[in-house]
């Protein structure tokens, strides 16, 4: 596992925020997932070692919190809100549109490796539903037309990357 120097620096800094090292578990998982993409066994053991814990202490945290993933995902992560306020405004249709645009199913990586689409619970932007997060960007009022536009944008960016 090769972590970027800046990730390592931030890890050492964040541990100082807490009187007990174990509190660093979630911050370290976030930092490493952002760097390497997912949480492998190697990552779990590395964090356990760093925080003077048993690997099981880290493993049980990884499996509890929905945002930590054990498998790699597509280059882009599309999260569609599934919860009531968004669903009342057509969130399920929005999700289906993304699935058909990228020829993939929920939770799977699209055949071209480009996108993983996920249905997630409430993103706390209920007044502008349906909402969708693409990586770290929130999109509001995403009806089918807007879902198409966002998909086109993602495809164009992928083509540009080559």
């Amino acid at each position: 596992m090769n972590l970027k120097p800046e990730t390592l620096a931030r890890i050492d800094e964040v541990i100082t925020h807490y009187p007990e090292k174990r509190s660093g578990t979630l911050p370290l998982l976030h930092l490493i997932q952002e760097d390497v993409g997912h949480i492998s066994n190697e990552v779990i053991e590395w964090i356990a070692d760093k925080l003077e814990l048993e690997p099981i202490n880290v493993y049980e945290v990884v499996t509890f919190y929905p945002m930590f993933r054990r498998e790699p995902i597509g280059k882009r992560h599309v999260k569609v809100c599934r919860t009531l306020s968004c669903a009342l405004m057509g969130g399920y249709k929005t999700c289906a549109k993304f699935e058909s645009e990228f020829n993939t199913h929920l939770g799977e990586v699209s055949p071209d490796g480009e996108v993983t689409i996920e249905f997630v619970e409430c993103l706390a932007s209920c007044g502008t539903g349906p909402v969708v997060m693409v990586d770290e960007t929130l999109h509001e009022n995403v009806d089918e037309a807007k879902a198409k536009a966002i998909s086109d944008q993602i495809k164009a960016e992928a083509a540009q990357r080559g």
């Binding site: 925020h17 807490y18 009187p19 007990e20 174990r22 509190s23 660093g24 578990t25 979630l26 911050p27 998982l29 976030h30 925080l51 202490n57 049980e60 945290v61 509890f64 919190y65 929905p66 945002m67 930590f68 999260k79 599934r82 919860t83 009531l84 306020s85 669903a87 009342l88 405004m89 057509g90 399920y92 249709k93 997630v120 619970e121 409430c122 993103l123 706390a124 932007s125 209920c126 007044g127 502008t128 539903g129 997060m133 770290e136």
Partner: protein
Amino acid sequence: MSAPAETRIIFKHIDEEGYSNDITCYQKHGGYEILKKAVTAKPEDLRDEVKKSGLRGRGGAGFSCGLKWSFVDRRSGKPIYLIVNADESEPGTFKDRYIIHQDPHQLIEGTMISCFANNVKQAYIYIRGEFPEGPRILETAIQEARDADFVGKNILGTDYSCDIFVHRGAGAYICGEETGLIESLEGKRANPRIKPPYFPAVLGLYQCPTIVNNVETLCHVKHILDMGADEYLKIGTPNNTGTRILCVSGHVKKPGYYEFACGSVTMGQLLNDVCGGPLEGRTFKAVIPGGSSAKILRFGEKFTIKNKDGSTKELAVEDIPMDFDTLAACGTMGGSGGVIVMDDSVNMVDALANINAFYAHESCGQCTPCREGSLWMKKISTRMVKGDARPEDGELIKNVADQIAGRTICAFGEACSWPTQSFVLKFGDEFKAYAETKKSKPTDSLELV
């Protein structure tokens, strides 16, 4: 009667043209003046002022903030911690996100005043993982405040020191429960703790006295000390003081966030005047007044409310003032201020199936009644929508719900069973007739589960 004007205190600068989230802009608008004043006062006087103001927690339970602070064990000799609950995750609630993103210094000032008032050694902001930008904004703002001597060592030249760190959650709703949040901050699964003995005010973070307050609540503290408790008490109604941010979502013309003096606006005024009424050609059918776990209200039902003098009055849903006490008297709650509106296009079995899927996903799994019960409520309601629906399913699912509430470590048990109990009670007809309804459902009707 048309709706009164909004009273924007907390959201005064939200969406304001030219207002930015940096410290220069904040100070130009009088920012950190209250903190400067506060550090010259005695902490216990500040606490008394907050208690006197009647401030009730804005996160969901509506518990008195002053009382919460008064429980803090100040004689243990252990450090006192304060945690800002920014895990905003009750479906229908979207107020804290705007404070964090657009006015972070308001939160930091409120937090530092509250820390000073309680002699807190260290504060953490626990922010939900799905706000990736929030922590960056907050960290930048905290650094600006540190550089200006408002946060950190010897703030404003006093001998008081307190730092704030930001801690990200990772997508678990249960972290909004204060003891679950504490476990999570300690680096564990967010399984809520049993009370007694683990009252945060005595045995909280790292087994030390801990205060957990919602983002909006801490912002109110700043304004209470600005105007004084006596002035603050004049906003709202007795026992429901100050303003309330109401987040409206679902089937209205103008969903969004609105800040009103507590109880000054009725449900009818809010939905019809402020939010522009139902969508074209539709009528209101039901509303959840305080986040998805609050019990649903059916338009057309009537509530008999006791007046102070012992007489009674009858209220329709539209007449209910949006305050903690009246909503509680109507059998539901003001909760987190998340108002979810459903019109006549919605079948209530579909809506409940959506809510049940949420709670089944979010149960921490610690207590059997909740872990198993939330899953079975989801399974039964989903089967009704996707497979066979039987006339007795409503009673069956309510029977499951009835065995959860009151039998769990934390209030999630209530949160997950109230929707089922209230939906079946108020829309029993739709549950009985669902098999027939399904056959005649328009093919283009919205999927909710």
